[in-house]
């Protein structure tokens, strides 16, 4: 039964777990009363979220004038935050879909939480374009539905409308994929629960029994959803980049944007996965399931995508010089040495220089260093979007309309509020659902458990011996 596994592959489940121990370790966090760090974290998140909600209401009540946007700089923190959150979401789909297609077993340790992160990040992202519209109660106008205004349809040629379709599709597909994966694990929670709790999880687990035919269809469904989610995730950030690339603004009007945005999205998403998982791993004591091997694999992805992003930055600089087009040259000169030079250097340092430390294996496996790096990268990627959006708009074709932009307390409040919302949702998730995919960890145990593979194998018994001894008694 056991597929061929290279002896030099490191185990992905340590501690010599049995199937029952896996259930016990992964389900029990949802059964205990919340720990003190959880309660403190939750209260803090609720407070920041409440402040964000207040700022959103303030914006809707008084209008977009409460932001510091002006005629020249029409996109500021709002769209920066939108692109940042959408980018963060991409790692979840990459882990669950693309790594499933590539049969990367280490994805099982982090896929559930990463997908949850995707969904919550997309929710935070979706908020920004909606409140940016100003009259949020008319937001439904963006959907093509038969209406009494003609019917008047949205402009299907506009990248902003493509964005509406891309992001709503992305959210829906991520949610379906995530929930379908959760159903068997909810069934495990249900079968351990009693009373009212059992009723709730009975509802959530959709009547799952674990029948062989259901598992077969479940696997088939996961594989096909992964197959179509892969081009989807690449398309989403491509379309987000079209918001800029199809315009005629120097600095935005570049064909490099789609691949560069996608690489940047994966880069920032993995950083956010690491930020979350390093904390979750520590608090919920999941070191046996999210091992140093997992962290190292993610750091390798960060190194690769970070380097792609670095190459993209340098390519942009080279092409703007080589094009001989003065407006393009000025746009990049202005980015690096104009009034927003600090954000450009922040971006360059956090995104291009800092990931290069991960060429060193011992740093890739250093938990504390990785945690700080992940925060750095999140900041750097936020700067990247700010550089692209605000600095480019601040110096347009007409020097008489040049302007400077800095956010008001309302804009900062909304951003902090979405961080609060994100953590509220994530903290609730860690309480109600197993943070690590239980069934999937069990399915890789025989090929990746440390009693079956890796350095400790020497004195452990081989697969067939286990079977024969168990058969004998």
């Amino acid at each position: 039964m056991s597929s061929v596994v290279s002896p030099i592959r490191e185990p992905l489940v340590t501690g010599g777990k049995t199937y029952h121990q896996i259930t016990e370790d992964l389900i029990s966090p949802t059964e205990r009363t919340p720990s003190k760090p959880w309660v403190i974290g939750f209260l803090l998140s609720v407070m920041t979220f409440s402040f964000g909600a207040f700022c959103i209401i303030w914006t809707i009540w008084h209008g977009i004038g409460t932001w510091d946007l002006n005629r020249t700089i029409g996109w500021g923190w709002d769209i920066t935050n939108f692109v940042w959150w959408i980018g963060i979401g991409h790692a979840g789909t990459l882990i669950s879909a693309i790594l499933l297609l590539f049969r990367q077993k280490w994805r099982t340790g982090v896929n559930r939480a990463a997908e949850a992160m995707t969904i919550f990040a997309v929710m935070c992202a979706g908020l920004f374009p909606v409140i940016h519209m100003g009259r949020v109660w008319l937001a439904i106008f963006i959907f093509p539905y038969p209406n009494t205004r003609g019917p008047l349809w949205p402009n299907f040629n506009s990248p902003l409308l493509w964005d509406v379709f891309a992001i709503s599709t992305y959210f829906t597909v991520s949610l379906l994929f995530w929930y379908t994966g959760l159903v068997p694990d909810f069934a495990t929670v249900r079968d351990r629960a009693k009373g009212f709790r059992k009723k709730i999880y009975n509802f959530l687990s959709f009547g799952w029994t674990g029948s062989a035919k259901h598992w077969q269809r479940w696997e088939s469904l996961s594989l096909i959803l992964a197959g179509i989610a892969t081009p989807l995730v690449l398309s989403v950030h491509t379309i987000v980049s079209f918001d800029f690339a199809t315009s005629v603004i120097p600095g935005w009007h570049t064909t490099i944007f789609p691949p560069y945005f996608v690489a940047g999205a994966i880069f920032s998403g993995f950083a956010m996965v690491l930020t979350l998982m390093l904390v979750v791993r520590k608090v919920l004591k999941l070191e046996d399931y999210i091992t140093l091997e997992h962290i190292e694999s993610m750091n390798k992805v960060i190194l690769a995508t970070g380097s792609i992003v670095g190459v993209a930055y340098l390519t942009e600089l080279f092409i703007s010089w080589y094009s001989g087009y003065v407006y393009e040259q000025f746009a990049f000169f202005n980015r690096a040495l104009g009034p927003y030079w600090w954000s450009y250097f922040g971006m360059m340092f956090c995104n291009v220089v800092s990931p290069q430390f991960f060429w060193n294996k011992s740093l890739r496996r250093n938990v504390l260093f990785t945690f700080f790096m992940s925060i750095f990268i999140n900041i750097g990627m936020w700067f990247e979007r700010f550089v692209i959006i605000a600095t480019t708009l601040a110096r347009d074709y007409l020097p008489s309309s040049w302007s400077y932009y800095s956010p008001t307390w309302v804009e900062i409040g909304i951003f902090v509020g979405t961080l609060g919302l994100f953590f509220v949702l994530f903290l609730i998730f860690t309480r109600v659902a197993p943070t690590v995919a239980v069934a999937e960890i069990k399915s890789i145990l025989k090929t990746s458990g440390d009693q079956y593979v890796g350095k400790n194998l020497g004195h452990a018994h081989s697969h067939d011996e286990t079977v024969s001894t168990e058969e004998a008694h």
Binding site: P151, L161, D191, A212, W215, I228, V467
Partner: protein
Amino acid sequence: MAQKNIDVVYGLYDDEVIMMEAVKKANSDHLEIMDVYSPFPVHGLDPLLGLEESRLHIAGFIFGALGTLTAFLGMTWIFTKDWPIIFGGKPYWSVPAFIPITFELTVLFASIGMVVTFYTICGLGPGVTNPYLDDRITDDKFCIAFNKSEVESSAAESFFSATGASEVNHKTI
């Protein structure tokens, strides 16, 4: 789950490898297995149980094609017949600009359609309670179940003890 009140005799195994051997033995002994339940998908089990490959991908393709057509024909009708508008001097029927939305709706229709199909054919859904045999099947036990109308109780019990089941139980579901 159309049938009700089926008398079932089932054996629980501690390991999927032992369970697979048992399924092979059941096949050679011509014992009709009602179903096998496991906490995770066991690979290599489907051919032993004679399960055909799932046809979900066909459903996915049909729903996807429906999405493609809905998006592309919808935008074509709106921009050439219902309300033609010139945007930036481009033709009414500007096909390249329709591609992103066509792609997104293809994916959206395919995935919603497939997920709904999956839950419907499996008889699963919000609030559905299907009869199940043992709480430990979703934890660490692998279960082979026989329908008593197809397999004699005594034959099943001797089969379970011969193949190393850790527990044998009777239940009506």
